[in-house]
Amino acid sequence: MENNILQLKNISKVYPGTIALENVNLSVRKGEVHGIIGKNGAGKSTLVSIIAGVISPTGGDIIIGNKTFKTLSRNNARDQLISIVTQEPQVIKECTIAENLFMPDYASSGFFINWDRIKSQAQSIISQAGLHMDAGMNAGDLSISEQQLLLVIKACYVEKSQIIILDEVSASLTQDDENLLYEIIQKRKSEGCTILYISHRTDELLNVCDRVTVIRDGNAVTTKDCATLSKVELSHLIVGDGYTSASETAGLPEAGEKTEEVILRVNNLTKYGQYEDISFCLKKGEILGFAGLRGSGRTEIFKGIVGIDPADDGSITINNETKKLTSPVEAFQSRILYLPEDRDKEGLINCLSVRENLTLNILPRISRNTIIKPAKEKDYVTRFIELLNIKTASPEQTVDELSGGNKQKVVVGKIMAAEPLVCILDEPTRGVDIAAKEGILSIIKTTMRKSSSVIITSPGIEDLIEVCDRILVLYQGRIVAEFAAEEFDEKVIYHAQQEERKVANAAEIQNRDFLA
């Protein structure tokens, strides 16, 4: 125990309405690469943000070396030599690579910054890490992958941190850069640094890490040695045993609702660099799920269909009419509505009331000659508040004051009220508590499908299995697999999400097995 460099004791984080982390215990040994894995929304990022001092926990202790902290500020964490590289590269685009590397501690002689020294130092660090960049270039001119590597280098070589947190760094890296990342990690490890490596890709984690902690629903389930763990075992730990076989739930959707009439057909939708050749069809009354890891292109495809970020190529056919939607206004007229994954930024008008939000999409129906009929409006609003069981003091309460789950129900209600032909729901259960989640899913399964066809994604595959008739699996902007209701199995789909990655790394995995 004496060589634990970082320990978390009973760390909890409570948000209004949800519990992100519940009494998490974690101990990280000095000089190891410690993996943290879990499904989307399991609480991985919350956990490491607490360690890095970006957010403060609601309860528990953080023990670094032999000092105990109740909460860390970012500066505290820096003093304890903790660095974090986040999922989205956060470089300052207008500054040079050299400036980005040294910010905020510039080399200076007295009051003045010594630019020559900074640049030459930066250049030597970059080449030491095995990269080929000109330190005088603007960071904004680098590709996303290079930006991410730059930040890794900053954390590893410039800040000279003892604990380096890499939060799903590989998600934005190219294959070559990824190999470079592994090299850097090995090098730092041999120099005695401790690395916390977060990912939701099992093969990668097993390659890189010494030990791995599995997070499920805000709890640290277990910590295992990677050497004795197989990929299949790890997948089991991540998914848990609650949903071993989905056959009982898969049978549930009433088959009578689904017909063979095709409502929406998507033909070869392509946006270069994001997704390619997306073709599928949606039948009347069908609930179609899209599974895929973050960055697999789910949101981008949806935004392409409804014209928020129109696709470069391809078309969609609605009721046998081929169109190309170039703005949400057109999608609205074609009765295709999109529920955005980011409800606060894109879904709700936070400063308006529940009533005004719920009726935003059905204004023509509650008004005559553009003048709103308050009685009619009240009818609709009470109906949807009851139907969705929205907990609000009154319809006049501002949406801002509701909890996350109830906010989400308002967005769902807003879309349902319009009775669209197609509902495209991007993570309708994101960041809501279990009760609200069940409520939303059952509404989708029973009421919503009566009037609309539904396309849905979810942070958890088990949600999709619960409501969908069919699931398509996306990987790097392509549809790689399709499952019908009777084939649903959470583990199989979880594997399918990472399919191609497995092939790419097959050689390494074999190598590993051989060594083991």
Partner: protein
């Protein structure tokens, strides 16, 4: 939410009327001649032009944009119309047509602003600033001397009085306009979309609202209102001069913000803006009656702008504080429940 916080938030949202009432009461006692029918009518009459500008600025602020060209439109629209009527077109123009032309000109200038802000993507601050300077420059060139006698019909809105010259028509006109806007924002589909666009343009766009069109409409309405303010100003002084509307713009901002409109967009009520305009007029009036130097009155107006912005910040902070505390209580309660459950 507890009743106490609800009441506190209600007062914060209607702060302007509290201030108006307090200020009125204080002046009744300390300012001579303040509390008389004539003076009160006077206050309303003098607030008419300002209140139109406050309304014009306020609805643009609700959209989360800003408009610095109102002052320029105020002088340019009636100025150019009357130059056409008196100098360019032989035989002149029908005064009724002049009124329409003035308002249309204001609308067109607003359309120009709205188009550049939405379709071209120019920052509204820069767009309207440059237009304002342009308009002011043009009018100084076109109108070196005032145009003096104006037709009775053209000056009707600004000058005419009812009941033996006691009661200016401008007052009921302005109140009517505020009432129409209040109704429009609350009970029409356009008003709903307008508030939604201001509150969260991205979410409104994704919901299928044509936000660009709403913003352009907002600028057009604001331009028409500014032109109407120009009509009132021309009527009041029975002439059109190039100095009309000078220094009014920033005070219009102050009025809108005092009235509870937020610079972040989405927040603000029409009635509040009316209150803001009345407060401004009352302050100027009482300072004049107290015999304060004109330059100091101007300085006071500057201080008012500062006060208005400060007030806005304090208000937001106090309100967030109340909401945050309520939320914290909720979470703690939740946590307590969670702690009890596993034990049982």
């Amino acid at each position: 939410m507890p009743q106490k916080s609800k009441i506190a938030i209600f007062w914060l949202d209607n702060l302007i009327w509290v201030i108006v009432a307090l200020f009125f009461l204080v002046n009744v006692f300390i300012t001579p001649y303040f509390f008389s029918v004539n003076n009160i009518i006077n206050i309303f009459y003098h607030s008419a032009i300002m209140s139109m500008l406050v309304l014009a600025e306020g609805i643009i602020l609700i959209l989360g944009k800003m408009d610095l060209s109102l002052e320029g439109i105020l002088v340019f629209a009636p100025g150019v119309t009357m130059i056409m009527a008196t100098k360019l077109i032989p035989g002149g123009l029908n005064p009724g047509l002049c009124i329409v032309l003035t308002l249309v000109m204001g609308g067109l200038l607003g359309l120009f602003n709205g188009y550049c802000v939405t379709r071209v993507g120019i920052n509204p601050f820069l767009q309207t600033l440059s237009l304002n300077i342009m308009l002011r420059g043009f009018i100084l060139f076109l109108l070196p001397f005032s145009i003096h006698p104006l037709s009775e019909i053209y000056t009707f809105a600004g000058k005419a009085r009812l009941f033996d010259g006691l009661f200016p028509v401008a007052i009921p006109l302005v109140i009517l306009i505020f009432a129409v806007f209040q109704f429009m924002m609350k009970y029409t589909t356009f008003g709903r979309k307008f508030m939604a666009t201001g509150g969260n343009p991205r979410a409104s766009f994704i919901s299928g609202i044509n936000t660009d069109r709403i913003i352009i409409m907002g600028f057009i309405i604001s331009g028409v209102l500014a032109a109407f303010a120009g009509l009132l100003a021309a009527g009041k002084q029975d002439s059109i001069s190039n100095a009309m509307g000078q220094n009014l713009l920033m005070v219009a901002f102050a009025g809108a913000i005092l009235g509870g409109t937020s610079l972040d967009g989405g927040k603000g009520t029409i009635i509040g803006m009316f209150g803001g305009a009345i407060l401004l007029a009352m302050i100027t009036n009482s300072l004049n009656l107290l015999g304060v130097n004109v330059s100091l009155v101007y300085a006071t107006e500057g201080a008012l702008i500062f006060l208005a912005i400060l007030l806005d910040r304090v208000k937001v902070r106090v309100k967030n504080n109340i909401l945050q505390q309520n939320k914290m209580k909720e979470v703690l309660e939740h946590k307590k429940n969670m702690a009890v459950l596993p034990g049982e």
